[in-house]
């Protein structure tokens, strides 16, 4: 009788541990890590990436293309403080595109949970039979090789000094002058969007926020929102940024008018880095969606950890009809091209006449 209680507790603990393992997908994980079929190989690789089990993930790959483990880890786990280093694979889905006896191709949709929200990535993975097992062919990353060089950087920097609040009229410096140069209200099935562009008309840098209030016919406010991250907040003199303000769950028929408000603060800023946006073109992605593709090139000598692309699309009359944005999960190394793509709704793409791309960047402070 004395031993009955400890035995009972041990049994209950064992049952609970087994239930927890089963609930956490233990059976599925076990199945995914065995690679008797091509689909199992793909799912096993994704499961390893999800568990950040890099060594095992690399071991299950086909190594015929000479891929090195550091390159694989660098691509999938990120480096240089890129957005990928702040991301984890939340979920994935894989479906077969093509199959023959010893080869097959799968399309994988990876959903990454990142520091800036949920990000989707589509990737086509080939698999090959290797005896009794299937292995995934991971394309060898092609990192740009920049020759060793000294890059002189002498761009301007603006500092704000001598801020005081006790000297009325004597020490005031005005906020930067910014102007909303265009505004357009657009309706989507699930929301109303306010799109446009804002320019820093001043000779000093500005930290800009654009807010909009949708007004009812009686003049009262229906909803107020800000541009949040769909804007380049820090604008150098004469720099133009697209902005987009989302009003989920509203219809344009409910709105009588829109009240816009652009606020600017005087902030320290640097004209470095300069990022060029090259080879832009509207194309289709692997699933046939319209996207604006291009390549970002960091022309400065400093690594840009996180970059965001903002694109304004105009119709034939020069009116802004859409603003897209997208984050890059790779860091922008000096002089190294990094591809990007931002989506465009199909009905908008048909009316696009031209576009303007701006790049937001984040550089981690150095110690």
């Amino acid at each position: 009788m004395r031993r009955a209680l400890p035995i009972f507790i041990a049994l209950v603990t064992g049952v609970l541990v087994a239930a927890g393992w089963w609930r956490a997908g233990g059976f599925a994980l076990h199945a995914e890590r065995s690679a008797g079929t091509a689909e199992q190989a793909v799912r096993a690789l994704m499961a390893d990436i999800q568990a950040r089990n890099w060594d095992h993930a690399f071991a299950t790959l086909d190594h015929a293309n000479g891929i090195q483990e550091p390159d694989f880890i660098q691509e999938i786990a990120g480096t240089n403080g890129s957005l990928r280093t702040y991301s984890v694979l939340q979920s994935f889905d894989a479906w077969l595109l093509h199959e023959d006896g010893n080869h097959s191709t799968f399309r994988v949709r990876m959903n990454w949970s990142s520091a800036v929200g949920s990000l989707d990535e589509l990737r086509d993975l080939s698999t090959v039979r290797d005896g009794n097992v299937w292995r995934v062919v991971w394309s060898k990353p092609n990192y740009p090789k920049v020759p060793l060089q000294v890059l002189p950087v002498n761009y301007l920097r603006w500092d704000v000094i001598g801020r005081r609040s006790d000297d009325w009229g004597a020490a005031s410096v005005d906020s930067p002058q910014v102007r909303i140069t265009s505004m357009n209200a657009v309706e989507r099935p699930d929301r109303v969007l306010i799109l446009g562009e804002v320019e820093n008309e001043d000779t000093v840098p500005a930290y800009v926020n654009v807010n909009a209030a949708l007004l009812k016919p009686d003049g009262s406010s229906l909803d107020e929102q800000g541009s949040f991250d769909a804007i380049s907040h820090k604008l150098l003199p004469k720099q133009v940024s697209p902005y987009r303000i989302d009003f989920p769950g509203l219809r344009l028929s409910q709105v009588k008018s829109v009240r816009m408000d652009a606020r600017a603060l005087l902030v320290p800023a640097s004209a470095d880095p300069v990022i060029s946006v090259e080879n832009q073109s509207i194309d289709k992605d692997v699933v046939g969606r319209k996207v604006l593709k291009g390549v970002l090139v960091n022309q400065s000598g400093q690594t840009v950890n996180i970059a965001q692309v903002l694109a304004a699309f105009y119709d034939a009359n020069g009116k802004v009809i859409w603003v897209s944005d997208g984050y890059l999960d790779q860091a922008l190394l000096p002089q190294g091209p990094v591809p990007f793509a931002v989506s465009i709704p199909d009905e908008v793409a048909a009316r696009v006449h031209s576009y303007h791309v701006a790049v937001n960047h984040y550089i981690a402070p150095t110690a």
Binding site: N154, Y155, L156, W158, W168, G169, A170, S172, V173, D174, Q177, T181, E199, E201, D202, T203, V204, P205, L236, P237, K238, Q239, V240, A271, V274, I275, S276, V277, E278, N279, Q280, S281, G294, Q299, Y355, H356, V357, A358
Partner: protein, 289 residues
């Protein structure tokens, strides 16, 4: 609550005034802030004097029938004062006005701190005139505004105050640089600096040096329509359209010019813009990739 404690006894005292007649106070109808003066009294005996001002209260024992000297330090705030003398038989009172003394200080606000050149009515200068005790001088006073530009030109404006405020609106000059604005009244003077900055770019032009696969671009010195150079750091946007698609780069002006470099594939059209101002467009031919 303290106001009520003060007001109720004084109101009671004032109600009792008609019953009196044996003492009286006579003050000048107006005095200058900070100036000493006397209040004449009649009657005999001692009394308690209460001097009630906008920001100051004095209580002291007095001898009736003598002139009561009031120190300048007791009447520094302009406004209406009430002198009340109370003795055993009741209270008597008189009122007088303390006016601001001569202008001695200025508060000066100039807006904006930066202004584009040649902007009409863009500068607002407001001066508030005070005496040495910080009372607003309501009497009409002329404030002299002196403007000194970096180019060496100077001009003046004289503006009379209205209820203590002199206000002026003028346009900026055509040359960039600091504009020193001095407001003065008598010995008092205050200076402010306005930065006059270049306006929008004007006649923006680029030149290209073509290589087989790349093109180097550089603007002419970027100036506004008045010939003022746009400040370094101003963003200039270059756009190239060729077989490879569209490429853009926003680059800041350095040493008066902006430059960029593009790879070109085939025939390329290159344009330039600064803010909302468009520059010229050029065509170059590169080798096809």
């Amino acid at each position: 609550m303290p106001k009520v404690i003060l007001t109720v006894p004084f109101s009671l005292m004032l109600l009792a005034l008609p019953a009196l007649g044996q003492s009286a106070l006579r003050a000048p109808s107006s005095v200058s802030a900070g100036s000493s003066f006397s209040i004449a009294t009649s009657g005999t005996g001692t009394a308690m004097l209460y001097l009630l001002g906008p920001s100051h209260v004095v209580k002291r024992a007095i001898e009736l029938g003598q002139d009561l000297p009031i120190a300048g330090s007791d009447v520094v705030a302009s406004g209406w004062y009430q002198a009340v003398a109370c003795e055993s038989g009741g209270c008597t009172s008189t009122t007088f006005q303390v006016l601001p003394s001569s202008p001695a200080r200025l508060r000066f606000l100039v807006h904006p701190s930066r202004v584009p050149v040649s902007a009409p009515d863009a500068i607002n200068a407001t001066a508030l005139v005070f005496d040495r005790f910080e009372n607003t001088v309501l009497e009409r006073t002329n404030v002299e505004f002196h403007f000194f530009s970096a180019a060496g030109s100077a001009f003046d404006r004289s503006v009379p105050t209205v209820r203590g405020i002199a206000w002026l609106q003028i346009g900026s000059t055509s040359k960039q640089g600091p504009l020193r604005v001095v407001a003065s009244v008598g010995e008092a003077a205050e200076a402010r600096i306005i930065q006059q900055v270049a306006s929008e770019a004007c006649g923006l032009r680029i030149q290209a040096i073509s290589g087989p696969r790349t093109v180097k671009l550089q603007t002419d010195p970027v100036r506004d329509c008045g010939g003022n150079p746009l400040p370094d750091g101003t963003v200039v946007s270059f756009t190239k359209i060729d077989d490879a698609g569209r490429s853009t780069v926003d680059t800041p002006i350095r040493k008066g010019v902006a430059s960029a470099q593009f790879a070109v594939s085939g025939r390329a059209r290159i344009s330039v813009a600064c803010g909302v101002v468009l520059g010229n467009e050029i065509s170059v031919n590169g080798e096809r990739r």
